[in-house]
Amino acid sequence: MSTQAVPGDAAADADDARAFAGRPYPDWFKAKGGGRSRLVSWWVPTVMVGLPILVIVCIVIYPTVWMFYHAFQNTNMMSLFTGNWSPVGWANFATVLSSDRFHASLTHLAIYLTFGACLQVLLGTALALILYEFVRSNVLKTVLLILLVLPMMLPPSIVGVLWKFLLQANNGAVNHLFIALGFLDPTQRIEWLDTDLALWSLTMADTWQWTALPLLIVYSGRVSLPPAIYEAARVDGASRWLVMRRLTLPMLREIIAIAFIIRFMDAYKFVDKVYVMTSGGPAQSSELPVFIAFQKGIREFQIGEAAAYAIIIFVFAAILIVLFLQYLKRVLKAQGL
């Protein structure tokens, strides 16, 4: 309720009676050099972070260094024990990058990531939201949640074995279920673990198990969203679809991204199921890059090559993840978080 007289430059001074914008910084500030001061002595945070890092470093550093070293050698299991290896420069890397087997596995990986990791996140999100929005009774919600999460509670190796058992061509339960349901003739059999389908079966088994994780994460996220906003939307008369699109999904974007990162990080290095379910076969048709590294190292004893594989895979994945994290940061900043 105040009006100023002729604005002129009086208003420019506004509240800056002694604005620092106009004056040079005082000496004590220049001497200080910025930064916050802490309430605890400097060594406390150092130890607190240092201890875990030390543990990791001790456990991981030696193997990492070892691995990097041998990636440049022509080591194999025999020579490992005789101490008889020699440097070969980038040869291992070259071999890996040019091998058809590797290229094939990259294709497999792409398929797996799309229909595995991505699908799991999408499915998990959809299911979580359906469960939350459309199931009325709270008791039922809890019961269903527990049931849906069960696959996560099994060891991946068991899941692999289980699906191998179920997908047997001749006396596997799945085929016979299809027959019983009329999808197949009694004489037909789907060769689930054949060269054509092995990778897909593997992906299916993985999706069966791991959709539960994004489901759990997104469900938890949805539970924690503030109800006030939904009340307001209801009062405004927004349709459910609109609410979903404009309210729920944007707020959950971050959570979904995190679920995706977690799945992605775990997915590209998963090897348990491959090992027990298909052994990468038949005929390497379901091999994933990490599995090849495993094979090379443990089965074929080409340690040097295996090391090179591991490094390439890690670098590749690390780059992707870092890029994704940057993207995520940018998106979040835009949202003002």
Binding site: Q4, A5, D9, A19
Partner: protein, 378 residues
């Protein structure tokens, strides 16, 4: 019971925030720190509390240097703007917290918490959790937590700014009455100037980096040291007019820049201002120093009946807006190209465009340097 002394406090983050601040709060004094949001009031409190390390300067309580003491060793209590109540503890446990920290005996804890809760009238809420009580009750819980600790210094950071007006009034009253508070040096921070004026024994107006002025409410209001202080104290705000001073025979005139308004400088100001003749000044006119005169006054003064209005210079103005606000009436009138706010009785009637005469109590006007904002005749 102790005296708080700040000597040359300096603190900065990315920018300097507190620049060599020095002040003393005597035992039992209620010291109010007021200023716009973000200016560093909370930072100052945090420095006294020990939550921020000083870049330079010293803090003394009762002549004891506590600058290097950690907050948990200083005997200072603070309420946070957000109350900072422990959400997982009951009201009782929240208030009892400082006593538990000192490992006080449980019976004693119960007694003291009980008496503080009774004093603050929240004794019926002791079993509730913070999220189960209202804003005002939360604030009283936070206050209770500081009272029970019997500190040397009380620091209160905008304790009632998030409460609605009615509760604010009631709590302000409680502050006046709380003897415990009044016995100890208290620093109270607010951005509400009216509150500051009503509560404080001594008030400091804070500007960028330091204290613009420290004094009693009266001093601050009647003798503002800077335009900043003048501008923020008083409702409605002071009229600010950018002017240039010109000689006019014996006297000085203040002529508004870019407008026709000319205001004679009162004799008592002439000496102080003569020195700055020609330099740009900001003329500050409080709305209560512009009187709306009955229509039959002449241009050069009020005839006969006079009284308080006798001898006042008069200017012609034209009504722009009039607002009747319960106890007062606020008139916005334009004179010589400048919009002026004046206080009137709420019963008056004005039409927009109506001519009106304003008597000016030029003796109470203020002149501030346009450059530094300093009051030129103090």
């Amino acid at each position: 019971m102790a005296r708080l002394e700040l000597q040359g406090i300096c603190k900065g983050f990315d920018e300097p925030v507190l620049d060599r601040i020095t002040l003393t709060v005597e035992e039992g004094q209620f010291f109010v720190l007021v200023g716009p949001s973000g200016i560093g009031k909370t930072t100052l409190l945090r420095c006294v509390a020990g939550l921020e390390r000083l870049d330079a300067g010293r803090v003394l309580v009762d002549d004891r240097d506590i600058t290097d003491l950690k907050p948990y060793h200083r005997n200072v209590a603070m309420t946070f703007e957000s109350y900072a109540l422990y959400p997982h503890l009951t009201v009782f446990e929240n208030i009892a917290s400082p006593l538990k920290a000192r490992r006080t005996d449980p019976a004693e804890i119960k007694r003291r918490v009980g008496s503080v809760a009774e004093l603050l009238r929240i004794d019926h809420l002791l079993d509730r959790r913070p999220h189960e009580v209202s804003g005002g009750q939360k604030q009283r819980t936070a206050l209770g937590r500081t009272l029970v600790a019997r500190p040397d210094v009380f620091l209160l950071d905008e304790p009632i700014s998030h409460l609605d007006a009615k509760i604010r009034h009631e709590l302000r009253r409680q502050f006046h009455q709380l003897e415990d508070l009044r016995r100890v040096a208290t620093v109270y921070v607010t951005h509400d100037y009216a509150e500051a004026l009503s509560l404080g024994d001594r008030i400091a107006v804070m500007g960028h980096g330091g204290l613009e002025q420290v004094g009693t409410a009266r001093e601050l209001f009647e003798q503002p040291a800077t335009l900043f202080v003048a501008r923020h104290l008083g409702q409605p705000s002071i009229n600010e007019i950018a002017c240039a001073l010109e000689g006019d025979g014996d006297g000085l005139m203040a002529r508004a820049r870019g407008a026709d308004l000319r205001v004679p400088v009162a004799p008592r100001h002439r000496q102080g201002l003569a020195a700055v003749n020609g330099t740009p000044v900001t003329l500050g006119i409080r709305p209560q120093h512009l009187r709306v005169l009955p229509p039959d006054t002449t241009p050069d003064g009020v005839p006969g009946e006079g009284g308080a209005d006798a001898g006042l210079p008069v200017i012609e103005a034209r009504v722009e807006i009039f607002e009747a606000l319960g106890a007062i009436g606020v008139l916005l009138a334009e004179a010589g190209g400048v919009s002026l706010t004046a206080l009137t009785s709420p019963d008056a009637h004005f039409e927009p465009g109506q001519p009106v005469r304003l008597g000016m109590e030029t003796g109470a006007f203020h002149y501030f340097s346009r450059e530094t904002g300093q009051n030129l005749h103090l």
